[in-house]
């Protein structure tokens, strides 16, 4: 069995200094005064799951449950402390869209740069500028610095770049709430297209109603541990009734 995402007993813990030491000066002073309170944070604790192709896997839980940390582990940003993660295929993360965009650069320059950061060939990205701006509905402003873009335009552009190829793994963090009604319908259609094309999708959201319509399976995280894992209806229903 080789699923696009396999997580085995993933634990992520790190030392956190409660005193929030931010400079060398502070660290030196506090070390001398013996005021350093270091503790271990278990952001994820023994999390195991798999996501298959064409599956929409929802991750829910209260704030601080480890949802964002899990997204970063799948996106390869954070290596697990123990356990193992295997991700097969290209990952397109859509966590807080637009972070790769520089406002001083034009949409064209940003598309090429953003796409290349997502691991695509810059030469290929140059050819894709046209279709990407067209889909995002900003083709008149392709050579305008994105600093004059509205946040809606930025969101559409970033979504368009991220979903321009068919990634094997799509990581989504509250992305569908961006944009107006028409764009939401359009992006929903594209998401469905990606999923049908074989992408494994992981979605984090606080909007349970939206996830109920979308997700096929779900995982409920609480303080870094799995509280429930299974069919979306059951898990989301259970999470909803827990308050």
């Amino acid at each position: 069995m080789s699923q696009p995402i396999e997580a085995r007993d993933v634990t992520l813990r790190y030392r956190l200094d409660r005193a929030n030491v931010g400079t060398i000066k502070e660290a030196a002073v506090r070390t001398i005064r013996r005021q350093r309170k270091v503790e271990w944070i278990h952001a994820l604790d023994g999390v195991s799951f798999e996501v298959a192709r064409g599956e929409i896997f929802a991750v829910v839980g209260p704030n601080g449950a480890g949802k964002s940390t899990l997204m970063k582990v799948i996106a390869r940003v954070l290596p697990p402390t123990t356990g193992r993660v295997i991700v097969r295929g290209q990952v397109a993360p859509m966590i807080e869209l637009g972070s790769g965009m520089n406002p001083e650069l034009t949409a064209r320059e940003n598309i090429i740069l953003y796409g290349s950061m997502l691991g695509r060939d810059p030469r290929h990205m140059r050819e894709r500028v046209g279709p990407i701006v067209e889909w995002a509905g900003v083709e008149e402003f392709v050579d305008v610095p994105t600093r004059s873009y509205s946040s809606g335009m930025m969101g559409r552009l970033a979504f368009s770049v991220a979903t321009d190829i068919e990634p094997e793994v799509l990581v989504v963090d509250e992305v569908l709430s961006v944009g107006d009604k028409a764009f939401r319908a359009k992006s929903q259609a594209r998401m469905n297209q990606l999923i049908n094309g074989g992408s494994a999708v992981v979605v984090v959201s606080h909007s349970i109603e939206m996830l109920k319509n979308l997700a096929t399976r779900a995982m409920w995280l609480d303080r870094g541990r799995i509280k429930m894992l299974g069919p979306a209806d059951e898990v989301l229903g259970g999470y909803q009734t827990s308050g």
Partner: protein, 281 residues
Amino acid sequence: MTAVQSTVFYDSDTRRRPLITEFQNFWRYRGLIRLLVVRDLTVRYKRSVLGVSWTILNPMLTIAVLWIVFSNFFGRGSDLGVPYVVYLTAGILIATYFSQGLIASGSAIINSRGVLIKMYIPPEIFSLAAAVAAATHFLLSMIPLLGLQLILGAGIPWTIILVPIPLVFMLMLTTGIGLLIASAAVYFRDVLDITRVVTQLLNYLIPTFWTLSLIENSPKALLMVKVNPVYSYLVTFRAWVYGGEMPPAWNLAMMAGSGILALALGVFVFSRNWRRVVVRL
């Protein structure tokens, strides 16, 4: 079943192989590095009113002030072999390249935090790209220096073709030390301030606007100047950009040695520690 052909594969159990992984990444991501350098240049030049980046204007203004103040003092009857302003410009250019490269490379990772905490890009790419951008600024600011050499009759010797050698070794030096600073800066915000102060002090310790003859009677002072690796870059650069001669062998050795050592050490330490650093980013 349509089999999705995977070219990308991530297994968290694959350990980074220090040095090998990083140099593979530098090569694999060369397209992105080029784009990041272009981005840096575009943004800097777009923002400037005069069409010349402040990163180049800044050393030029420094040179102008130092020239006005010190040309009478160091310029008269000196054994520099070239007009004082040429000697001075070459000195300031190397000092600026060192400090700008180090600070750019050292702050690159923290500046790219927004991207690095969301998608996987080898972080060392950003430090290298920043150092390459600084090298480009250095190359561009060589144009006024070569202009001065021509106008003032110092000429441009054939050894000019060797100038890329100190340029590349300085690139290695700033990338290597920059990576060490970059991981420390994730933990402590004041690391970059300390770097600024230290590079400034180091730059005063090399003969940029002053000459070695000033301290020739003090072996201690001479030693302090000569152990500073940047001194060897400066000697080599001056010998090749206008001197038309070979610098002492020990300067060449020190330049190559410090560049290679700094890069190897920086990449190695960075590679070993990144797992611990990234959770704090």
